[in-house]
């Protein structure tokens, strides 16, 4: 390789740390307001776990938004489908799920999650080809098509599984909490945090260390120029769409286990949160999406504890505040 050492020092890239500091500052600010350190720690752990799950579900959507400017209001369908598909594996192996061995539990959970991701990803392929391909560049039609797709998906789930809520109990080894002094942190929340972190790191590695990742980042910024360099961005988009759908399926399984139940409209409330996360994070920004998800979860948990009546509007207020500060989101990647 050519010696690229410069005679002059390279200018250090400026790191925009303000968005990263925001959730830390918010958490610290809550200590005196909440009063009890153990309650604060429990709420913070709950926020991080919830934030990670929302991030997993939102990460694909933000790339789809940023990469192809597609408004997919049907993203929630992949969440619900993922959760339902998991029941196909978990129900016949209920005894293994209730066994006391962590490995026995994981031996059933892991294939259930993988199957959910595969089915949601395959559904993503169909949705992109059938619903979205004909309406590229037409936002109103995208909203109509994907909202229609969501309704069809929900009604199909009702038709196949019935209208009742399906219980999805946590595996025996993931019930209960880790006790640290007078602080209790639910085991499942720790697992959710670890999986969320792993997904975040994996996405960051792909985006920053591979040519595929470079193409995705470049495509989010200027897809026309990526095409002019000779890359078929439609194929790239399809791959991102399927991956995003698969991650939504994984998020659906995790959320269903968190709530210990599955129903066809389980994604309705989540979809609002996911869109808020994508918007405040900055369209197409995975880092912004990650911080946005944690912020949304913190506001929901801290806000729900301190001012329960504000819970319904707290995330809208958060979005208004962030967009007044940074109108294109925490990390603006696209010019949209």
């Amino acid at each position: 390789m050519t010696d690229l050492a410069a005679t002059d020092p390279l200018p250090k890239p400026k790191r925009d740390l303000a968005p990263i500091l925001l959730p830390i500052a918010l958490a610290l600010l809550m200590i005196p307001l909440i009063g009890s350190p153990s309650t604060w720690l429990t709420l913070t752990a709950a926020s991080l776990a919830m934030g990670m799950m929302i991030f997993i579900m939102a990460s694909g959507l933000t790339l789809v938004f940023g990469l192809m400017d597609v408004l997919n209001f049907g993203h929630g369908a992949f969440i619900a489908v993922g959760a339902y598909v998991a029941t196909l594996v978990l129900a016949p192996f209920a005894a293994s799920i209730q066994a006391d061995s962590l490995w026995t539990n994981l031996a059933v959970l892991a294939p259930a999650a993988l199957l959910s991701m595969a089915v949601s990803g395959a559904l993503g392929l169909v949705v992109e080809r059938v619903l979205i391909l004909p309406v590229y560049g037409q936002h109103l039609k995208q909203i109509l098509m994907t909202t229609g797709g969501l309704i069809v998906a929900e009604q199909t789930l009702y038709a196949l599984w019935g209208p009742q809520i399906i219980p999805m109990p946590l595996p025996a080894s993931l019930r209960g909490s880790f006790i640290l002094g007078d602080v209790a942190i639910a085991k499942y929340r720790v697992l959710a945090m670890l999986i969320g972190l792993a997904v975040f790191i994996a996405i960051q590695l792909v985006l920053n260390r591979t040519k595929l990742g470079l193409l995705i980042r470049a495509g989010v910024e200027n897809r026309e120029m990526v095409e002019a360099l000779g890359y078929r961005i439609r194929r790239l988009f399809l791959g991102v769409f399927m991956t995003g759908s698969a991650l939504a399926g994984l998020g659906g399984v995790m959320w269903a286990l968190y709530r210990e139940q599955v129903h066809a409209s389980m994604s309705d409330d989540l979809t609002v949160l996911i869109f808020i996360v994508v918007i405040i994070g900055g369209l197409g920004s995975i880092g912004g999406c990650f911080i946005g998800a944690i912020l949304v979860a913190m506001v929901a948990n801290y806000g729900g504890f301190l001012v329960p009546k504000l819970a319904l509007v707290s995330n809208i207020l958060l979005m208004v505040a962030i967009l007044m500060w940074r109108p294109r989101g925490l990390y603006a990647v696209t010019s949209r």
Binding site: L4, N222, Y231
Partner: protein, 240 residues
Amino acid sequence: MTDLLKLSGVHTHIGRYHILQGIDLTVPQGQVTMLLGRNGAGKTTTLRTIMGLWQASKGEITLAGQRIESLATPDIARLGVGYVPESMAVFSDLTVRENLVLAARDGPLDDTQLDWIFGFFPALRRFWLSRAGSLSGGQKQMLSIARAIIEPRKLLLIDEPTKGLAPAIVMALIECLKEIKRKGATILLVEQNFFAARELGDNVLVMDNGTIVHRGEMATLAADVPLQERLLGLSLEAHQ
């Protein structure tokens, strides 16, 4: 001299607007063909239509004998067409290195080619690991051109590379383009800077209202002040 690129009766509509109204032009192999004209004449639309970024509504475009007017942009690029847009369109979130890695479609970066590019644009070596978004306008233009020449291309479409740049940077760009020309590249170059056009061009096409209104040798136009004034509303003296 064989014609590498040929447009015959090309029309382009953008929405309700009829921008290109029957373009006929040829770009000879190994030469620099200048595309001049007033603002709004259709120069950028011509390049974008050749590149497939806007679809020709009528007419034929052939590259080395192959029809390309109905091909998608990536397929046209893969036939060996490099494009430097007017907006430069560097990927500002990516480093200089990453921008060039993406442009080197056929494999890893070639050290010899890199050294050749750094010879013209030393700033690119200096800011190798910096985000392209942090570069100045001139440096972004250098990166945009470097991206188009990082691998050999049959044809380069370059849209107003000197626009808005400081005179010293314009001279460096002209030297670079001259060197690319000496290496035998075929270039269709849109330019408003008549001095740059005279320095670089072998042939010239002048556009007005979506049609070609003049074609000939650049040297002839450069020497004919009344013709310059009639076609472009300016004279070379005004640019010296």
